[in-house]
């Protein structure tokens, strides 16, 4: 009986203590990084060149490198001597829940910043503006979306392109069959094997997949820009201090003039592991995002 009371007393004390700690610390993420000396970065397996694996569970890419720079800045800010980065591969389906539940502290992939996701997670300032385009076989003769009538169009499950395609279909009265790949590599395989006539997806992903294919000359990116979307680094919601630290680091990287160099490195020069060239020129929209750093969701880009 007595021991039970004791236990209850400890419990109350512990609860109070934890409450006090919570009240004291504004940023759970920064505290966690400081106390463990480690941070978990969410990365993608095949979002070339944004975030992808170079084999042996190593990850690299445009966003991954930016994130590493951000984390160096945060390490210095917290006064840590070393900061261990754990890479956690995520998918289109699990990236939001994993950031939400704290498994992933910072997601550096190819996630569109939209109002729907912003309900669950936070987004850092945009460093890359994606344009949704159409990839076809070079000998197909397709040059615009209107020529896709009654053709099979591939896109990847769990991405915003599916909805976009549907809207476009309705607005222009163009009727086509959607086929879904379970990931980008799968969608590209649908195009490659002739099961689909076109692959509608973010320009960088199309360029990356084409560059990685057996015969890059067999494919081309054609047609009008279907949509413009900001791709951003994802951080936990309700942790403004961590988000501010990330944004401050981003501002520093941009101010140092690192962005054009990073673009050159990842989009125009040969990249590991196979030394392929993505070959995507810097778009005016992305340049504009660097000049005016912001975290506007995709919805704001539609209105413009």
């Amino acid at each position: 009986m007595k021991s039970k009371k004791w236990a209850r007393g400890y419990l109350v004390a512990a609860t109070l203590l934890m409450g006090a700690l919570n009240a004291h610390s504004a940023s759970q993420t920064l505290d966690k990084i400081k106390s463990t000396g480690a941070v978990t970065m969410g990365v993608r397996e095949s979002s070339i060149p944004m975030s992808y694996t170079t084999g042996d569970s190593r990850f690299d890419g445009y966003h991954v490198e930016v994130c590493r720079m951000i984390l160096v800045d945060i390490k210095d800010k917290l006064g840590l001597s070393t900061l261990r980065i754990n890479y956690q591969p995520v998918t289109s389906q699990n990236r939001v829940p994993l950031v939400q539940n704290g498994t992933v502290d910072i997601e550096c992939g190819s996630t569109t910043n939209n109002a729907n996701r912003a309900k669950d997670v936070g987004f850092a300032n945009t460093l890359y503006i994606e344009e949704v385009r159409i990839a076809v076989k070079a000998n197909s003769g397709i040059n615009s979306i209107s020529q896709l009538a009654n053709k099979k169009v591939a896109t990847t499950t769990g991405t915003t392109s599916v909805q976009l395609l549907r809207k476009h279909e309705k607005a222009n009265g163009v009727n086509f069959d959607e086929v879904f790949g379970k990931d980008h590599a799968d969608s590209f395989l649908l195009l490659e094997s002739g099961r689909a006539d076109a692959f509608v997806m973010d320009g960088s992903i199309l360029a990356g997949n084409i560059a990685n294919s057996k015969n890059p000359k067999d494919y081309k990116i054609v047609g009008e820009v279907l949509a413009t979307e900001p791709i951003a680094i994802m951080v936990p919601k309700n942790d403004p201090e961590f988000k501010a630290a990330v944004n401050a680091a981003i501002a520093k990287i941009v101010a140092n003039g690192n962005m054009p160099k990073l673009w050159d490195k990842w989009f125009l020069k040969p990249i590991p592991p196979k030394n392929i060239v993505v070959g995507l020129e810097l778009s005016p929209a992305t340049k504009n995002a660097w000049a005016n750093l912001n975290d506007k969701p995709a919805e704001d880009y539609v209105k413009k």
Binding site: S92, Q93, V96, P97, N116, R117, K119, D120, A154, T157, G158, T159, T160, V162, Q163, R166, K167, K170, E178, V179, F180, G181, K182, L189, L190, S193, G194, R195
Partner: protein, 262 residues
């Protein structure tokens, strides 16, 4: 955690609430843009079609292969048929179902060109049907071998050929014995049809993955999909139960009479 089931009444283009949420289900009205509920129903039909086609293939081939495995090895032809059916069973039950689906979708059409023209749901039904046929074949074989050997001997004594003794004596009894395992196998086909999402068949699992991404209502979407899978499997269970009851011959091998159970 509160559920927001209103998500099913929203249209799939811009998330506005549609005019006819439920009436469109029964064909009374038509939404100008499909709602998530309409899409869910369409996905359910795909799941049932894939499962139905696979089950048909599996039952026919399973019955055939299971029977062939029990043939008396009296002639060279019989020996070949036994070898063939044994190889069939071992081949299709030793490879994971998802791998088989990929082989039928990506690998085999590269060599057998006419298969390229087949829609993906046909290919996935073949894969699922062959996989399940190996399991059903083993159950049919177990049913046949459970019969006392006197049955075959009696059929032979009556002057029936091998084919006739299977048709009139062995199979009618053996198939009644294997209805219970066949029930669970049929229910498995409904559940295994979820692998079809991997080859872009727009069925329930693919719907769940895409719709939860678009709406951020993962819990509601997955609950609805779970419910429909459970409902479909349970319906199969009830149908098989009816077949079991209707085909029962009183006092014949399997008795469900409580007074006989010891």
């Amino acid at each position: 955690m509160s559920l927001d089931l209103g998500v099913f009444c929203k249209n799939t283009l811009d998330g506005e609430v549609v005019e006819h949420c439920f009436s469109a289900l029964f064909g009374l009205a038509h939404n100008s843009d499909p709602s998530y509920l309409d899409w869910l129903m369409k996905a359910w039909v795909w799941t049932l079609s894939v499962a139905g086609l696979s089950l048909t293939i599996a039952l026919i081939l399973g019955l055939l292969m299971g029977t062939l495995r029990t043939l008396p090895s009296s002639s060279a032809l019989n020996k070949f048929l036994i070898w063939l059916s044994t190889s069939w069973v071992e081949l299709f039950r030793n490879i994971p179902i998802l791998v088989q689906v990929f082989i039928w979708y990506h690998v085999i059409p590269a060599f057998v060109l006419p298969l390229k023209a087949l829609p993906s749901y046909c290919l996935v039904s073949i894969a699922l049907g062959f996989f399940t046929s190996a399991r059903i074949a083993e159950q049919v074989r177990a049913g046949i071998q459970a019969l006392p050997s006197g049955q075959t001997a009696a059929a032979t004594a009556l002057g029936l050929t091998t084919a006739q003794s299977y048709r009139y004596v062995i199979l009618p009894m053996a198939l009644r014995i294997v209805i219970p395992p066949l029930t669970s196998e049929s229910m498995n086909v409904v559940k295994n049809s979820s692998v079809a999402f991997a080859v872009s068949v727009p069925e329930l699992t693919l719907f769940a993955m895409q719709a939860q991404e678009e709406t951020s209502k993962g819990v509601e979407i997955y609950l609805a999909v779970t419910l429909l899978y459970a409902l479909s499997a349970f319906a199969v269970n009830r149908i098989m139960n009816q077949i079991e009851k209707r085909s029962r011959v009183p006092g014949f091998i399997v008795s469900t009479d409580a007074s006989l159970a010891h």
